[in-house]
């Protein structure tokens, strides 16, 4: 089975029903993608498959139908994605555990919509839980990142 992750194609030999999350974390050591619930209810495991946000904890590796991007490769090495810069600017993270999922979801949202309304943000982000309650700063950071992307 072939799997392309962060630009590199791997030949892997695992059970086809193993969720992508555990291939990333335990087989590849890409621990930036988090385990939170295992049933697509918290969004901590959000990655991109061909640029679209997917919950990797319920996505069987055999069903991955595109190139996978994780938080580790959201930006070019040594740089930050506009969303990550906004997260720093707004000092969003507290415990930080859900933030890779939040950032991947936000980046996917802004990839198709650089002027999201609050309703767009609710729709794209409500699947990702944050027990530290950083939602207000996430919302502000997304608007800020969108503004900078439009201006760029």
């Amino acid at each position: 089975m072939k799997l392309t992750v962060n630009g590199a194609t791997h030949e892997i030999d695992v059970e086809p029903d193993m969720p992508l999350l555990w291939v990333l974390r335990d087989e590849f050591g890409l621990t930036g993608t988090k385990f939170g619930c295992g049933v697509a209810m918290c969004g901590a495991c959000t990655v991109h498959v061909d640029g679209r946000p997917r919950r990797s904890c319920v996505l069987a590796v055999a069903d991955v139908d595109g190139d996978v991007t994780t938080i580790e490769a959201l930006a070019r090495p040594g740089t930050l994605h506009a969303v990550q810069r906004a997260w720093v600017e707004h000092q969003v993270a507290q415990c930080g555990y859900c933030q890779p999922g939040q950032i991947m979801a936000a980046a996917a949202l802004l990839d198709g919509n650089t002027d999201p309304t609050d309703a767009d943000i609710d729709s794209a982000m409500s699947g990702i839980l944050c027990r530290c309650g950083t939602y207000a700063r996430i919302r502000a950071a997304i608007h800020d990142a969108a503004g900078k992307m439009r201006g760029a």
């Binding site: 049933v39 997260w87 000092q91 993270a93 415990c95 839980l129």
Partner: protein, 747 residues
């Protein structure tokens, strides 16, 4: 890990010690009051190492659990401020488990005194409690006490180090120390000669540190009082921050466990035949009270443990919630454990009054549901045990691990990585103890145990369910009598039993905090705590007793206000007048922020609540609206007095976090029992607030109190009654049982 091990070894050195690659500075202070005979035995408080000067900056040892509250950044700032170094050269590390890092603030938070009545309390603490606190040497993160406790200690660590560095420079330059200044990690002479801290560090380590170095005038603070960029921010947004669950070691195996869902019940037998042959399974481990599966991948372990057939014994408590609440209610029949508030003569005032108001409030058990499920990694090798796990109590955890493994504590090394939330859950050792047992089954190989979300939800130490029976009388000027009887399991006794094997007798403050210790001048005012005897596992949950007592107390005050035709804000202001001015000011502030004097818009309702907890008086107003599908929480205003605000932006984050945490509980938080087991298992039946439900939050930080107080928890308690009071304001429905979502729909 290598770096960590180096730091750990340093703590075994005595005095200020120069070592390869860095220098550790110690700061310690014997008791100021030599009258206390226990003082000399404080030999265990020998060295208090908070600072390493490295080749490229300074590393501050910040020995409190970083679970999101930003404590590493604030503690590092305390040292950096006095040391006089550039912020971008500062790093923070948790450091090793050590009695050196005892947290007396946690002990203080359990004392049976109302904090706002300060006289006497401090002296008692200084004379009696502080010394045993050091003696026990418990390193704990909790009780919103980290900053309070470190405020002087860590500034002095920085100041003592700076003094030694200046002294070393003075000797090298042959100039008086008084002629030298410091800036950004350099000692600077009058002629402009600059010596870096790095080049002075070895000499400075030979100089006896001042025991009581002078501290800067706060008016000259450069970092403290400002909003600093968090030291952990960039790693956390890049995905490179390493949480306990992210630990990776050579040759590591992965594990899952299954323990009795009837909590505390025995395991009668198990059959692992099917699991044994599943892909990647290496070992099945009998944990005594559960089964562990060690495999080559976490998912394989999860899948295999599901295939183990286990026969469980019954729970040692009534099998369903109704039976459990009956048991809690029985506690009212026994004499109170304590009456920590007894002003006037409440029974007489009630007996002689017309129109006595009575109400019963109920709250359910609650799970912590940290985003990072419980996990721990253990490696037993060559007679030494290493543990990597997010934890709030490393010295206790180490002791437990040593006992299980049959090792000396000195041979157990506890690593404390970032925590994906704590909220009190990571002060427990159940998961790490399981990891130790698993590691003992495969000596020489590291094992990472990860709990499924279901295991996590159903094996928590829950916020206790509680019942509060309230009676009150209100007159034209305000409440004249208030009597509260509160029944719940004792968190403090449960914590003590687990940590040291026995429960301390005496009044249980946590049972009644948030009710007995509020700064209201009600003339006849009594609060009784009744301990419910139940074996449901309970523990500390963000704000502990305040989390349920504030709901009953502040909703009942709202009932009294409504019955007396009084404005609930003005009534509180009147009750606080002459009792505690900082509390009165936060209520006045929040009323101004929310423009309380003007009525809310049509279709909107507002509720107010106040709680004094962890030294921080906190007032909130919640505004809600009626939407087609239900009630929406629109806005929360919060005013909190913290005495001294060290990092305003981070305090704002903590307040907002605590409010969302409280509102999540108020709207939907409920752990219930069916057939002896917790009925909920994942976020689909234990949901918390999500983006679309999260209100706008506006905070104001006041500094009218003396000293400094905690900010991680005090935002939670008033959020729950403020919402319930807003629901009453909007709908006329007085909901006295949580979660509110069982009675009305939220959108």
């Amino acid at each position: 890990m290598g770096r960590f091990a180096r730091i750990a070894r340093r703590t075994f050195l005595v005095g200020s010690a120069a070592i390869a690659g860095g220098v550790a500075f110690g700061y310690y202070q014997y008791r100021k009051k030599p009258a206390n005979p226990l003082s000399p035995a404080a030999g265990e408080v020998t060295l208090n190492p908070y600072l390493l000067i490295t080749q490229d900056g300074v590393t501050v040892i910040t020995p409190r659990a970083e679970m999101g509250q930003g404590i590493h950044t604030t503690l590092a700032a305390l040292v950096a401020e006095e040391l006089d170094v550039a912020w971008d050269t500062v790093r923070a590390e948790h450091g090793p488990a050590s009695a050196t890092y005892y947290n007396i603030g946690v002990v203080r938070a359990g004392l049976p005194f109302a904090d706002y009545r300060e006289s006497g309390t401090h002296e008692f603490v200084e004379n009696v409690i502080d010394v045993p606190g050091k003696f026990f040497g418990v390193q704990v993160t909790g009780a919103s006490a980290s900053t309070v406790e470190a405020f002087e200690k860590m500034r002095k660590a920085g100041a003592a180090a700076r003094h030694a560095l200046v002294e070393a420079a003075a000797r090298r330059l042959g100039e008086p120390a008084a002629a030298l200044t410091t800036a950004d990690g350099f000692v600077i002479a009058a002629d402009g000669t600059k010596l870096s801290y790095r080049e002075l560090a070895r000499d400075a380590a030979e100089i006896e540190p001042l025991r009581d170095p002078p501290l800067k005038d706060p008016a000259t603070w450069r970092y403290l009082g400002t909003s600093l960029p968090r030291l952990d921010m960039e790693a956390k947004i890049a995905g490179s921050a390493r949480f306990g669950i992210d630990v990776r070691l050579d040759g590591m195996l992965y594990a899952a466990v299954r323990a009795n869902p009837r909590l505390g019940g025995e395991m009668k037998s198990f059959d692992a035949t099917a699991a044994r042959d599943m892909p990647g399974v290496r070992k099945i481990v009998d944990l005594g009270d559960g089964v562990g599966v060690i495999a080559t991948n976490t998912w394989r372990a999860f899948t295999a443990v599901d295939a183990v057939e286990i026969v469980w014994g019954d729970a040692p408590y009534p099998p369903d919630s109704a039976g459990i609440f009956d048991e809690i209610a029985k506690a009212f029949d026994s004499r109170p454990n304590a009456t920590l508030r007894d002003d006037g003569n409440v029974d007489k005032a009630i007996a002689g009054a017309a129109g006595v108001i009575e109400a019963e409030y109920r709250v359910p058990y609650l799970a912590h549901a940290t985003m990072e499920p419980m996990n721990a990694t253990a490696l037993l090798k060559d007679g030494r045990l290493q543990l990597w796990t997010g934890n709030q109590a490393p010295t206790i955890l180490r002791g437990q691990a040593a006992t299980i493994a049959g090792l000396d504590e000195a041979d157990v090394l506890v690593h404390t990585p970032y925590m994906g939330g704590g909220f009190g859950r990571r002060g427990e050792y159940d998961c790490s103890n399981q990891a130790v047992k698993l590691a003992m089954a495969v000596p020489g190989t590291a094992v990472k145990l990860t709990w499924t979300r279901e295991e996590d939800m159903r094996h928590d130490f829950y916020r206790p369910a509680a019942i509060a029976r309230m009676k009150g009388v209100v007159g034209a000027q305000g409440p004249v009598a208030l009597k509260a009887d509160i029944a719940a399991q004792s968190v403090s006794r449960a914590l003590a039993r687990r940590a040291v094997g026995f429960a301390f007798p005496g009044p249980d403050r946590l049972l009644v905090e948030g009710a007995f210790d509020q700064p209201y001048g009600i003339p006849n005012y009594q609060v009784n705590g009744h301990i419910a005897r139940l074996a449901v596992p309970v523990g500390a949950w963000r704000s502990v007793g305040n989390s349920y007592n504030a709901f009953a107390h502040e909703c009942f005050l709202d009932e009294l206000a409504a019955a007396g035709g009084l404005d609930p804000v003005q009534m509180r202001l009147d009750l606080m007048a002459g009792v505690h001015e900082p509390s009165r000011k936060v209520v006045a502030a929040v009323a101004e922020m929310a423009n309380w004097a003007a009525p809310p818009a049509d279709g909107r309702g507002r509720g107010v609540a106040f709680t004094y907890s962890f030294g921080s008086p906190t007032a909130q107003i919640v505004e809600i609206s009626q939407q087609a599908g239900g009630i929406r929480i629109e806005k929360v205003w919060c005013a909190m007095d913290v005495g001294t605000a060290l990092d305003p932006r981070n305090i704002d984050a903590q307040i907002g976090s605590a409010i969302i945490f409280g509102l999540s509980a108020a709207v939907s938080g409920e752990i219930s029992f069916v057939d002896g087991a917790v009925a909920q298992s994942n976020f689909y039946d234990y949901d918390v607030l999500r983006m679309y439900q999260a209100p706008d939050i506006e905070t104001r930080i006041l500094e009218n109190s003396d000293g400094i107080s905690g900010t991680g928890e005090p935002g939670t308690p008033p959020s729950i009654p403020a919402l319930a009071n807003a629901v009453f304001d909007l709908t006329g429905r007085r909901i006295r049982e949580l979660p509110l979502g069982n009675a009305i729909r939220f959108v």
